[in-house]
Every structure is written in C-alpha cells, then in structure tokens.
C-alpha cells in the first residue's frame, strides 16, 4: 500500500489552516501566507492520486473534484455580483450582468455534470448534527475559559515598532479629517 493518501489529507488540512490563518488577527495585520497556503492545499487535493486511497476517501476525493468544477465559477460569480450590486445608489449594470452570467454558468455545470440529489440525505443530516454537537461542546469550553480567573501578570508595554505603527495610524486618520 502506497502513502499517496497522505497528500489528500495534508491538502485538506492545509486548506483549513490557510483559511484560519487568513482570517486571524485584525484586518490590517492578517497573515499574508494564509490564502496562498489554502490554495496550495486545494491544489494538493485536486491533483492527488487515487492510489492508496481507501473506498470512502476515493468517493470523497471524486465528489470534491466534481464540486470544484461548479463551486469555483459559483464563488467568482458571487464575488462579481456583490461588486456590481447597487450600493449607496451606485449601480454597475455591466459588472452585475457579467456576475450573473458566471453564476448561471455555475448552475448549468452543477445541474448537468453533477447529481445534487444523488447523495444520501440522512448522512448529510447526521454529519451536520455531529458538527453541531462539536460546536456546542466548543461553546461550553469557551464559556469555561471566560470564567477562569485572569492572571495578574503585567502586560508588557508596546515595543518601539508598535509605537511607531500606532502613531502612523493616528497621524494618517487625523490628517484625513483635515484637522
């Protein structure tokens, strides 16, 4: 038995890690490597070999490939539609039309090359129930963390780099206000 199955799992974990890293921290200081890492993971999953995969992994791998064919244009279409939709009375009809064209293409691929009703509905419901259980336990753990007494250790002052950064942000905002 070959170890190529590891590529599929590593790809999945890199996707989750990359997304977590990309969403981490304040908006101005998020990990730059996050989304490229998630894309690399996606590539590993998409181009993984079926060699060494067990039965359920082969089915999941094939389903993921089929999903990507309609999900990628679907995501791009949603992004373009969101950019073209009317905001504060500003409309962008060409962008909106392009977005809907891509979105409709995605639906066409989904309905012609993918069987959305061919999967077992019960399995999906059980999986969502399992994830909800994990979520509830996670919430209880967070509540426990929040009730723990805070440590008395003194928080270190800002470093020179942080001070310069905060000063530059404040200056920039004050200058923009024209004060």
């Amino acid at each position: 038995m070959t170890e190529w199955w590891l590529q599929w799992w590593i790809g999945l974990f890199l996707m989750v890690s990359g997304f977590s890293m990309g969403r981490m921290g304040p908006a101005f200081n998020r990990a730059k490597i996050g989304y490229p890492l998630a894309l690399f993971g996606l590539g590993l999953v998409f181009f993984s070999s079926d060699e060494g995969l067990i039965q359920n992994e082969q089915i999941a791998s094939e389903t993921m490939r089929q999903t990507l064919y309609w999900a990628v244009p679907g995501l791009i279409g949603c992004f373009i539609v969101a950019r073209g939709s009317p905001i504060y009375n500003v409309t962008r009809p060409p962008t909106l039309a392009i977005g809907w064209a891509v979105l409709l293409l995605s639906w066409y691929i989904l309905l012609t090359h993918y069987d959305p009703f061919g999967h077992d509905l019960i399995s999906s419901i059980i999986t969502i129930a399992g994830l909800i259980i994990v979520f509830i336990v996670h919430m209880f753990a967070i509540r426990l963390v929040e009730t723990l007494p805070r440590s008395d250790e003194t928080i270190p002052p800002l470093s020179e780099t942080e001070k310069t950064y905060v000063a530059s942000v404040l200056n920039r905002h004050l200058e923009n206000k024209g004060d």
Binding site: S20, L96, P116, I126, L144
Partner: protein
Amino acid sequence: MEFLLTLSGSLMLGSLLVLINIKAAYHPYHKTTPLVASSLLILGFGLYLSMIASSESDTALTAMRQATSLAVNALLATLPAFFALVTLMMLRISFRPQ
C-alpha cells in the same frame, strides 16, 4: 453501522477543524488548554465509535480515515443547498430597491 460511522466521522472532523484552527490562528493571549482538551476528548470518543462501527480487521487509523472521509463526503453533498441559498441572497442584493 453506517449511521454510527458517519456520526463518529463528523465528530472527528469537527474536532480536527477546531484543533487546526487553534494551531493556525494562535496568539499569545489565547487560553487554548480547555479548548484543546475538549477537542481531544471528542476526537477520542469519535475514534472509539468509529472502531466499533468499522470492520474488525481495520486498524484505528483506517477506521478514522473511513469515518472522516464519509463525513467529508456528506458535508460536500450539502453544498448545492447552501449554494442555492447564496444565489437567493445574490438575487436580493442585485434587485433591492434604492
């Protein structure tokens, strides 16, 4: 047995997602010990269930792979429904009154 295997897979998948998120989004003021402990507990429970549900010849690793990939597949099967909801939301934002 399929029911138990899917449930165990979703428990393991959920706890693995939490563990990866804790590691990837780590920052020094984050108290991770209770979260890691609860996730490991669920992961262990899911692994135990998957070993009960899978065939006797399977090792713990194979049982885990079988169950978790079953959950991944079941989760992917829900995506068209989510996509339908997102498309409805796109319709709403595209044609909302000014």
